[in-house]
C-alpha cells in the first residue's frame, strides 16, 4: 500500500504522516498533541516530527460557541475557518480584526501563527484581539489562558506554532465594519527604495496597505510594483447589495516546471505593472479580491510544478535603514528571483513570545524549489541577521537552526515555557525538530 504523506502549502517537504480528524478536539488531542488546521503553513510547521506519524486535524471542530453582537466578542472551536466567519458574519457587519492573505485558515492556526495582515501598522497581529483560549498542553491538562491566567503560556501559544499545546477553543473580538465592501487605491511604484517610502507615507493615512512587488526585475526597476491602499467603504459609497459569492476554480494537475519560468513570469509581471496607471486610481472592490487575491484558484500551488516552492518571509527593522531591503532584493534577483513578492510595513511587535512582526519592512517571496534554493535562503538569512530582523515560521521550510537562533533572542524564553508545560517533550513538529532539536 502507498504510504500516506503530508506536506505544507508549498508542497515541500513531504513527510510520512496522516491527519486524523474529529469534531471532538478534546478527545482527539488526548493522544495526538500536534494540531493541524487547513494546512496553509507553507513549510513544515504542521507536519509530524520524524517518528510521530499522525497529527490532529481540527477542521471538523468548527462550531461557534458564543457571539455577542453588542461587543463583537466571539468564542469558537479551533477548527472554524476564516472562510466560514466571513460568510456568516460579513453580511451582518462584522469582520475579523486581522486577516492573513487567505481565508482558508482556521482560527487555531491564526492564533498559532499569530497572523498579520494589511492593517498590521494599525491593528497589530491577530493575537492582539484574542482575549482567551483553551489549550491542551503536553502533560494532558486543558488550561484556559489569557493575559491574566497563565500569561506565560498565553503569550507563548500566540505565534507558538502549536508547540505549547493544541488550541481547542478561542475567544476574540470581531470588528464592526461600515459596509461589506472595500475602497481601494492603487499606485504604481518604480523601485524598492520608493516602495519603502510610499508604505511609510501611506501608513498614517490608510488603515490597510500592501504592495505587490516584482521579484524578477533588476537594475533601476528593481523592486518595482504596485501599492494597494484600502479602507472599508462607508455605507453611503458602497453598493447596496452584499458582495456576490465568487466562483472558485481549481487547478486539477501540476503544471510542468517550464510553465512558471523566469521568462513567463517576467512577461506576466511586466503586463501587471503596465496595467496600473502611473497616477493613482481607486474604486470600490470586492473584499475578497482585496484581501484574498489568490483564493479564487484552489490548489494554485500546483502552478509551481512537482518540485513545489518555498515562501520566504522576513522582516527588516526600520532601524537598519533602507539598505537591507535593497540588499535582499539584490541577492534575490541575482539568484533567480521570486515569482511573487509582497511588501508591507509592520507596526509594533505583538503579544506573542515568538510573534513574527516587528517595526520594519516585511518581504514575502515565493521562490520555486530548485537546486540553489537552499543557498539563496541561507544568504537571505545572513542579511536578515545582520540587519537585526527575523523570519516567519509559518512560511519557513529551509532555515538552519543556527540562523534561527541568531535572529531570535526570544527563543530561550519560548523554550522555557515549552519545557515547563510539556516536560516530557510530547509536542513536536517537523519544524520544531529541525529548528530547536525537539
Amino acid at each position: 500500500m502507498k504510504t500516506a504523506v503530508l506536506s505544507g502549502w508549498g508542497r515541500v517537504p513531504t513527510v510520512p504522516g496522516v491527519e486524523i480528524r474529529s469534531e471532538n478536539l478534546e478527545q482527539l488531542t488526548r493522544n495526538l498533541p500536534l494540531a493541524r488546521g487547513l494546512g496553509r503553513a507553507y513549510g513544515d510547521a504542521a507536519l509530524p516530527a520524524p517518528g510521530d506519524l499522525a497529527v490532529a486535524g481540527t477542521t471538523l471542530a468548527d462550531r461557534v460557541l458564543a457571539f455577542d453582537p453588542a461587543t463583537g466578542l466571539i468564542t469558537v472551536e479551533a477548527g472554524l475557518s476564516l472562510d466560514d466567519i466571513c460568510r456568516v458574519f460579513l453580511p451582518r457587519g462584522f469582520f475579523t480584526p486581522v486577516t492573513p492573505g487567505t481565508r482558508f485558515v482556521t482560527v487555531g492556526g491564526m492564533v498559532a501563527a499569530d497572523v498579520h495582515g494589511k492593517n498590521h501598522h494599525r491593528e497589530g497581529c491577530f493575537g492582539a484581539h484574542v482575549t482567551s483560549f483553551k489549550v491542551r498542553i503536553g502533560d494532558g491538562r486543558i488550561l484556559t489562558c489569557s493575559l491574566t491566567e497563565y500569561p506565560d503560556l498565553f503569550r507563548a501559544t500566540i505565534g507558538g506554532m502549536g508547540l505549547t499545546g493544541a488550541i481547542l477553543e478561542a475567544t476574540f473580538r470581531l470588528s464592526k465594519v461600515p459596509s461589506s465592501w472595500i475602497y481601494e487605491e492603487r499606485q504604481r511604484i518604480g523601485g524598492v527604495d520608493e516602495f519603502v517610502d510610499a508604505l511609510k507615507a501611506a501608513a498614517p493615512v490608510w488603515p490597510m496597505t500592501v504592495g505587490w512587488i516584482d521579484g524578477l526585475s533588476r537594475g533601476p526597476g528593481m523592486g518595482r510594483g504596485v501599492l494597494f491602499c484600502g479602507r472599508w467603504a462607508e455605507a453611503a459609497e458602497a453598493p447596496r447589495h452584499q458582495p456576490p459569492q465568487l466562483r472558485q476554480v481549481s487547478l486539477p494537475v501540476d503544471f510542468p516546471e517550464m510553465a512558471l519560468s523566469p521568462h513567463t513570469v517576467r512577461a506576466f509581471n511586466a503586463l501587471t505593472y503596465q496595467r496600473y496607471s502611473a497616477s493613482r486610481d481607486g474604486g470600490i472592490v470586492h473584499p475578497y479580491t482585496y484581501f484574498y487575491p489568490l483564493d479564487w484558484i484552489a490548489h494554485w500551488t500546483r502552478m509551481y510544478g512537482r518540485r513545489g516552492f518555498t515562501q520566504y518571509q522576513c522582516v527588516l527593522p526600520h532601524a537598519a535603514g533602507r539598505e537591507p531591503v535593497r540588499d535582499c532584493f539584490d541577492l534575490l534577483t541575482r539568484s533567480g528571483g521570486a515569482f511573487l513578492g509582497v511588501i508591507k510595513d509592520c507596526g509594533p511587535e505583538g503579544v506573542g513570545t515568538l510573534s513574527f512582526p516587528m517595526p520594519g519592512i516585511s518581504l514575502a517571496l515565493d521562490i520555486p524549489m530548485r537546486d540553489a534554493t537552499q543557498r539563496l535562503i541561507d544568504g537571505m538569512n545572513e542579511l536578515v541577521i545582520s540587519a537585526g530582523g527575523r523570519i516567519y515560521l509559518a512560511k519557513d521550510a529551509l532555515t538552519r537552526p543556527e540562523h534561527f537562533r541568531a535572529m531570535e533572542p526570544r527563543l530561550d524564553e519560548f523554550l522555557a515555557v515549552r519545557r515547563q508545560y510539556d516536560p516530557d517533550r510530547r509536542i513536536r513538529s517537523a519544524q520544531s525538530v529541525r529548528l530547536f532539536g525537539w
Binding site: 502507498k2 500516506a4 496522516v18 486524523i20 480528524r21 474529529s22 469534531e23 471532538n24 486535524g57 471538523l60 462550531r63 461557534v64 460557541l65 458564543a66 457571539f67 466571539i74 456568516v88
Partner: protein, 265 residues
C-alpha cells in the same frame, strides 16, 4: 398553506404551515448532519436537533443560534441504540416545532469490516442500529408525518449497500436493507403524501471515515449538504452524493462476480 402530495418525482417538499419548513434531524451534531442542519437554518428553516449526547446537542444549538438566530427550536436526547428514546424525542420535537414537515436521519454506526468480524457484539450493535432501529425510527416518523397529511423523510443510507463488497460487507448489508425499506416506502406511500429521500453518500471526509485513506472522488460534508437540500426540496427519491458516485455505482453494479471476487473494492 401549501400542501402538495402529488406523485411526480419532482413534487416539492410538503409544507403545512406557510413557508417555514419544520425539520427534525437525528445526527445533527456531526459530519454531514451538521452541514445539512446549518444550511437549513441559514435559509430560514426551523430545526430541532436529536442526538445521544445532550452536552454536544446544546453546543450545536449555540452554534446555530450564533449563525442564524431563532432557527433552532430545541434539542432532545435520542439514541439509535436505544429505541425507547425515539417516541419521546419525536413528540418533544413536534411540540417545540408545532408540527413536523421534514425528518432527516444522518446518524448511524460505522466500523471497519475487520473490526466487525473480530467483535460479534459490535457487529450485532451495528446491524441493529443501522437497520432495525433506524427502520423503527422511520416508522414512528412516518406515522407522525402522515397523520398531518404528509411530509418528507430523508434518510442517509450509503453506496456501500449497492453491492456486496469486501471492505464493507456488514456495514453495507445494513445499508442495503435500509435502502430497500426506503424504496418500498416510496412505492407505497408517495401517493399519500409521504416523500422518501434516500441519500447515498460515497466517501465523505468526516470523523466516521477518519483514519481511512481518502479514495479519488472523496468529498466534504458541505457540498454534500447542498445536494441533499436540493433533493429534499424536489422530493427526489434517491440521491447520490457527490453526483459522480451515481456513475461509479453503475459500473460497480454491472461488474460480474468473478471480478468482484478479485478486486479489493
Amino acid at each position: 398553506m401549501t400542501l402538495t402530495g402529488g406523485s411526480g418525482a419532482r413534487s416539492p417538499c410538503v409544507c403545512l404551515d406557510g413557508d417555514v419548513r419544520r425539520v427534525v434531524i437525528l445526527g445533527a451534531t456531526k459530519g454531514m448532519g451538521r452541514a445539512v442542519v446549518r444550511k437549513m437554518a441559514a435559509r430560514g428553516d426551523r430545526v430541532f436537533l436529536l442526538g445521544r449526547n445532550l452536552e454536544d446537542l446544546r453546543t450545536s444549538v449555540m452554534d446555530l443560534d450564533a449563525r442564524a438566530a431563532g432557527a433552532a427550536a430545541g434539542y432532545a436526547e435520542c439514541d439509535l441504540e436505544r429505541p425507547e428514546t425515539f417516541a419521546p424525542a419525536l413528540d418533544q420535537a413536534g411540540t417545540a416545532l408545532g408540527g413536523i414537515d421534514i425528518v432527516v436521519i444522518t446518524a448511524a454506526l460505522f466500523a471497519s469490516q475487520d473490526a466487525l468480524e473480530a467483535d460479534a457484539e459490535l457487529m450485532r450493535r451495528l446491524l441493529s442500529a443501522n437497520f432495525t432501529n433506524t427502520v423503527a425510527f422511520c416508522e414512528l416518523a412516518r406515522r407522525r408525518l402522515m397523520a398531518r397529511g404528509g411530509g418528507t423523510l430523508c434518510v442517509f443510507s450509503s453506496v456501500a449497500g449497492e453491492r456486496g463488497r469486501k471492505p464493507v460487507i456488514l456495514y453495507g448489508a445494513s445499508k442495503a436493507g435500509l435502502t430497500r425499506y426506503l424504496e418500498g416506502l416510496d412505492h407505497k406511500y408517495r401517493s399519500q403524501g409521504l416523500i422518501t429521500v434516500c441519500v447515498k453518500p460515497g466517501f465523505v471526509r468526516t470523523s466516521m471515515t477518519a483514519g481511512l485513506s481518502s479514495p479519488p472522488f472523496a468529498s466534504d460534508p458541505e457540498p454534500v449538504a447542498e445536494r441533499v437540500l436540493r433533493a429534499v426540496d424536489r422530493g427526489q427519491p434517491v440521491v447520490y452524493v457527490p453526483a459522480i458516485w451515481f456513475a461509479i455505482m453503475i459500473v460497480i453494479r454491472s461488474l460480474p462476480r468473478f471480478v468482484m471476487r478479485r478486486i479489493g473494492f
